[in-house]
C-alpha cells in the first residue's frame, strides 16, 4: 500500500508539472494575471508531491520492502541503514527521482526567493522549469518507474547495492552534483524567459547571477566529492580519469564558469548579451547531454548503470525538444539584440572575453574527446578510445594560458584599462613566483622537473596576484574589517575561488609529477622502504563484516625507526553479489598522503601490494572546496537582498489605498 502512495505522488507531480508548464505561459501570452499567479503555488505543490514520493521510496528501503523491484535490486537485509538511505539514488530509477526532486526543489526556491522579480518573469521562469520537469517525470513514469512491484512473489532478500556504492561518498556526491547540474536549469529558465518575453536587456543577467553562482558552487563541490570518492574507494589511487561521465560533469562546469564571468559583463556593462544567453542555454543543455550519455549506454563508462536503448531514444527525443527548441528560439530572437557600449583592447571586458574564449575552447575540446569514439563508430570507423594523453595534452596548456590571464583581470578596470600603474604589483608577483617556482623542484628528491617548475610558478603567480588584489582593496577601504564589510561579496567570493584554483593546481602538479609508487609482492614480515617511511606487513587476517568477508592486512609504518602508524587495508568480497572490492588505507597529511592497497593474493600467504606516497594530493580537493566556498560567499551579497527589499517596499506601497 505504502509504495502506491509514492507512485500516486509521482503521478500527481507529473500532472502538476504539466499545469506548471502550460498555465503561466498561457497567462503570459494572453496577459491574464490569474494564470500567471498559478506558477508559484504549482511549483510548491510539485515540490511537495515529489518529496512525498521520494520519502516513500526511502521508507521502502529502510523497511526492506522487497516487493518493490527497485528495492529488491539494490538493497539487502544485511545492508547497514545509512547505505539503505543512499541506495535510494544508487541506481537508475532512484537517481532520476532524485534529479526530479532537486529540479522541483529549485523551482520551490525560485518561487520563494523571487519576490524582487516581476511576476510575469518569475511565472515564465517557473513555466520553463515545469516543461523540463514534464520531460523527466514522463521519462520516469513510462520507462523507469522506481515503484514497480514484484507481486505476488516478493523475494525474501534483495540483490544488494553495488558494493562500489557502499561508501559514505555516495551519500553526498550525487545529491551535490545534481544540485549543480539541475541548478543550471534556473539560469537556463531565466535565459528562456527573457527570450520569450523579448526583454533582453541586462536585468535578466542580474536576476540569474546568484542562481548561476550557487549552482556552479554545488557543481564544483559535487565534482570534487566524486573525484575524492574515486581516489579512496575505487582503489586505483588516481583522482581524475577522464572517464566519459567525469567529462560529462566537467564540460557543464567549464561552461558555467564562463557563464558566471560573462554574466558579470552583461550585468555591469550590458555587453556580450547574446553570448551570455547562449552560454546559459549551453550550460544546462550540456548537463542534459551528460545525463543522456550516462543513461543511454551510448558511451562506455564505469557509471553506466542503465544501458537501455529504449530509454536512450526517449532521452534523445527530450534533448531534441529542450535543446533544439531553446536554440531555435535563441536564433530567432538573439539576432536582434543590439550591443550598446564599447570597450578598449585592454580593459576588464577584454580580459573576461579572453577568459570566456579559453574556457569555451577547453569545454569544446573535452566534449570532442569524449564524443570522438562515438563519432568514429557512427561513420563506421570501428571502436576507438580517447585516453588521458589527449586530454592532458589539450587541457594542461589551456589551463596555463587561462591562469596567466587570471592575474590581470581583477586588477583591470571596466571600459579602458591601459594605465601600466594598475599592473605594477604584478612585477613583484612575477619575480617571486618565478624564483620560487624554479627553486621548488630542486628541493625535491629525484631529478629536476621542468613541469613542476612551470606548474608551481603558475600556481604562485595566481595565488600572489589574488592576495595583491585583496591587499590593494584593503588599502583602498582603509582596513581589513571595513573592506570585508563594504566590498561586494562577489569580490570576496572571487578571491576565494581564484586562490582555491591556485591551491588545486599546486596539488595537481605535485601529485602528477612526484608520486612515489611501488607494486610489490609482500607477505607477513616483509618490509619496504618508501620515501621517508618503512612499511612492514605484520599480520593477515580474515574479518567478517555485516555483508562482506574481508582479507585484512596489517601494516606498521615507521618513520625514523619510530612507529608512526598502523593501518589495515582490506580486500572485501560482498556476500550477495560476490563482487570484490579494494578498501585502501590512506594516511592523509598536509604535504602527502600515504596510500596502501591490497591487490591480488599470490599464494603462500603473499599478496600483491600497492604502496604510494602522494605529495599534496589533498590540496586538489581543498582547492576545489575553496572555490565552492567562494561561490556561496558571493551570493550573500547585500545587493541581491536589497533588490528584493526595495521591490517589496514598492509592492506594499502599491497596496496602500490611494
Amino acid at each position: 500500500m505504502i509504495p502506491e502512495i509514492g507512485h500516486f505522488a509521482l503521478v500527481l507531480a507529473f500532472a502538476v508539472s504539466i499545469c506548471l508548464a502550460v498555465f503561466p505561459l498561457y497567462g503570459y501570452l494572453t496577459s491574464q494575471d490569474g494564470f500567471c499567479a498559478t506558477a508559484k503555488p504549482l511549483a510548491l505543490l510539485q515540490g511537495f508531491a515529489l518529496a512525498v514520493s521520494f520519502g516513500v521510496l526511502m521508507y521502502g528501503f529502510l523497511t526492506h520492502d522487497f516487493s518493490v523491484k527497485y528495492v529488491a535490486d539494490n538493497s539487502n537485509l544485511d545492508l547497514p541503514w545509512h547505505f539503505r538511505m543512499s541506495a535510494v539514488w544508487g541506481a537508475h530509477e532512484g537517481s532520476l527521482l532524485l534529479w526530479a526532486l532537486i529540479l522541483a526543489f529549485w523551482g520551490v526556491a525560485v518561487a520563494l526567493f523571487s519576490r524582487g522579480i516581476p511576476d510575469h518573469m518569475s511565472a515564465l521562469v517557473l513555466s520553463v522549469m515545469g516543461m523540463i520537469s514534464v520531460g523527466f517525470l514522463a521519462f520516469m513514469l513510462f520507462t523507469s518507474n522506481p515503484f514497480v512491484r514484484i507481486l505476488p512473489f516478493a523475494p525474501g532478500n534483495g540483490a544488494d547495492l553495488n558494493p562500489l556504492l557502499q561508501d559514505p561518498g555516495l551519500i553526498f556526491h550525487p545529491p551535490m552534483l545534481y544540485m549543480g547540474y539541475v541548478g543550471l536549469s534556473v539560469a537556463f529558465a531565466f535565459a528562456m524567459a527573457s527570450l520569450i518575453s523579448g526583454q533582453l536587456d541586462a536585468t535578466w543577467a542580474r536576476w540569474s547571477r546568484p542562481w548561476t553562482t550557487v549552482a556552479w558552487a554545488f557543481l564544483t563541490l559535487g565534482i570534487a566529492l566524486g573525484s575524492w570518492w574515486a581516489y579512496y574507494e575505487l582503489g586505483w589511487g588516481g583522482w581524475w580519469f577522464w572517464d566519459p561521465v567525469e567529462n560529462a560533469s566537467l564540460i557543464p562546469w567549464l561552461v558555467a564558469t564562463a557563464l558566471m564571468h560573462s554574466l558579470a559583463v552583461t550585468e555591469k556593462r550590458g555587453l556580450f548579451r547574446s553570448w551570455t544567453l547562449l552560454l546559459a542555454i549551453a550550460a544546462f543543455s550540456l548537463s542534459l547531454l551528460g545525463t543522456f550519455l550516462v543513461r543511454s549506454g551510448v558511451l562506455t563508462s564505469v557509471h553506466a548503470f542503465a544501458n537501455d536503448p529504449e530509454r536512450g531514444v526517449f532521452i534523445l527525443g527530450f534533448l531534441v525538444v529542450v535543446i533544439g527548441g531553446s536554440l531555435t528560439l535563441y536564433a530567432l530572437r538573439a539576432g536582434k539584440v543590439s550591443e550598446p557600449g564599447e570597450f578598449a583592447w585592454i580593459s576588464r571586458e577584454s580580459f573576461l572575453l579572453f577568459n570566456n574564449l579559453v574556457l569555451t575552447v577547453m569545454a569544446v575540446s573535452v566534449l570532442l574527446g569524449t564524443l570522438y569514439p562515438l563519432l568514429v563508430d557512427a561513420v563506421g570507423g570501428g571502436k576507438v578510445s580517447v585516453g588521458p594523453p589527449f586530454f592532458n595534452a589539450v587541457f594542461v596548456p589551456l589551463t596555463a594560458i587561462l591562469v596567466s590571464g587570471m592575474a590581470f583581470g581583477p586588477l583591470a578596470k571596466w571600459r579602458k584599462s591601459d594605465d601600466p600603474k594598475l599592473y605594477r604589483p604584478l612585477i613583484v608577483t612575477l619575480i617571486v613566483s618565478v624564483l620560487v617556482g624554479l627553486g621548488w623542484p630542486s628541493l625535491l628528491a629525484g631529478s629536476y622537473s621542468i613541469g613542476t617548475a612551470i606548474g608551481v610558478t603558475l600556481a604562485l603567480w595566481l595565488a600572489i596576484a589574488t592576495v595583491v588584489d585583496f591587499q590593494k582593496k584593503v588599502g583602498l577601504y582603509g582596513g581589513l574589517a571595513t573592506t570585508l564589510a563594504r566590498v561586494e561579496k562577489g569580490m570576496i567570493g572571487m578571491w576565494f575561488a581564484h586562490f582555491g584554483l591556485a591551491v588545486m593546481i599546486l596539488g595537481v602538479v605535485m601529485v602528477e609529477n612526484h608520486t612515489e609508487h611501488r607494486d610489490l609482492r609482500m607477505g607477513v614480515g616483509d618490509a619496504q622502504r618508501l620515501g621517508n617511511y618503512d612499511v612492514r606487513m605484520t599480520d593477515l587476517a580474515v574479518i567478517n563484516g555485516p555483508n562482506y568477508v574481508a582479507d585484512q592486512a596489517t601494516f606498521e609504518i615507521y618513520e625514523d625507526d619510530q612507529l608512526f602508524k598502523t593501518v589495515t587495508p582490506q580486500k572485501r568480497r560482498y556476500n550477495a553479489s560476490g563482487m570484490v572490492m579494494t578498501e585502501a588505507s590512506i594516511d592523509s597529511g598536509l604535504t602527502r598522503d600515504l596510500y596502501i592497497a591490497m591487490g591480488e593474493p599470490l599464494g603462500d600467504g603473499d599478496w600483491a601490494v600497492r604502496l604510494s606516497v602522494k605529495p599534496f594530493v589533498d590540496w586538489i580537493w581543498a582547492g576545489a572546496f575553496l572555490m565552492g566556498l567562494g561561490g556561496f560567499i558571493s551570493i550573500t551579497d547585500r545587493r541581491y537582498r536589497q533588490k528584493f527589499e526595495v521591490k517589496k517596499g514598492e509592492a506594499s506601497g502599491e497596496e496602500v489605498p490611494a
Binding site: K69, A72, D73, I150, F153, P155, G158, A159, S274, W275, L278, I281, A282, S285, F292, S296, G297, V298, L299, T300, N307, P309, G312, V313, L316, L319, V320, I323, G324, L327, T328, Y330, A331, A334, G335, V337, L371, P373, L374, L375, D377, A378, K383
Partner: protein
C-alpha cells in the same frame, strides 16, 4: 551577433543529434562471444530433478534455449513466467547455476517447472566453460548443439522479438 551566426549553435546540435541517434543502435560493450558458432562445451553433470547422469548428447535434437538460472537470482524470477510461456513453443533447458539442490527444487515447486531438462551445476563448472558472467543468461542452441546467440539478463517479449526470433528463423 550576426543574423546568420545565431543559427550556428542549432546547426551543430542537429549534426550531433544525428550522430547520437546512430550511436544508440551501436553497443560500445557488445563483444562477440567466443562461443558463438561453437558447440556447447562437453559436460558430465546430473539432472536436478531425477539425479541421473546428463551429458551433451542428451540435449534436444531441435533448436532450444539454454537458460542459466539460480534460486538466488531475482531477475530469474522476473523472467520465469515468460520462459514458462515460451516453453510451449520450443524446449527450454535449465542450467541451475551455483545453487543448492533444496533451494532450487523449492523454487521450481513454487513457481512451476517449464524446463525440458534441468542440468544441476552447483560448482558452476559448465557455467565457467560457457563464459557465464552471472544469472540469468540464455543461449540459443541449434539442433546440432551449436550456440548461435547469447543473451545476458532478462528474456522478455521484446528481447525475443528483437534478438531471438531473427536468429531462430535462420536456423530452423
Amino acid at each position: 551577433m550576426n543574423r546568420l551566426m545565431v543559427w550556428l549553435p542549432l546547426g551543430i546540435f542537429a549534426i550531433l543529434v544525428g550522430f547520437f541517434f546512430k550511436g544508440l543502435s551501436l553497443d560500445p560493450n557488445e563483444q562477440p562471444s567466443a562461443l558463438i558458432g561453437q558447440p556447447v562445451p562437453v559436460f558430465e553433470l546430473t539432472d536436478l530433478m531425477t539425479g541421473e547422469r546428463l551429458t551433451r548428447e542428451q540435449l534436444p535434437r531441435q533448436p532450444f534455449l539454454l537458460n542459466v538460472w539460480a534460486s538466488w537470482c531475482i531477475t530469474c524470477q522476473v523472467e520465469h513466467p515468460y520462459l514458462t510461456q515460451l516453453s510451449k513453443q520450443m524446449p527450454v533447458v535449465g542450467l541451475n547455476y551455483k545453487d543448492t539442490e533444496t533451494a532450487a527444487k523449492n523454487w521450481l515447486a513454487k513457481l512451476g517447472d517449464p524446463y525440458a531438462l534441468q542440468i544441476f551445476d552447483p560448482t558452476g563448472r559448465l557455467g565457467l566453460d560457457l563464459g557465464v558472467a552471472g544469472a540469468p543468461e540464455t543461449f540459443l542452441v541449434d539442433s546440432n548443439g551449436v550456440i548461435h546467440l547469447r543473451i545476458q539478463g532478462e528474456v522478455n517479449d521484446r528481447v525475443y522479438a528483437k534478438k531471438i526470433q531473427p536468429v531462430l528463423e535462420t536456423i530452423q
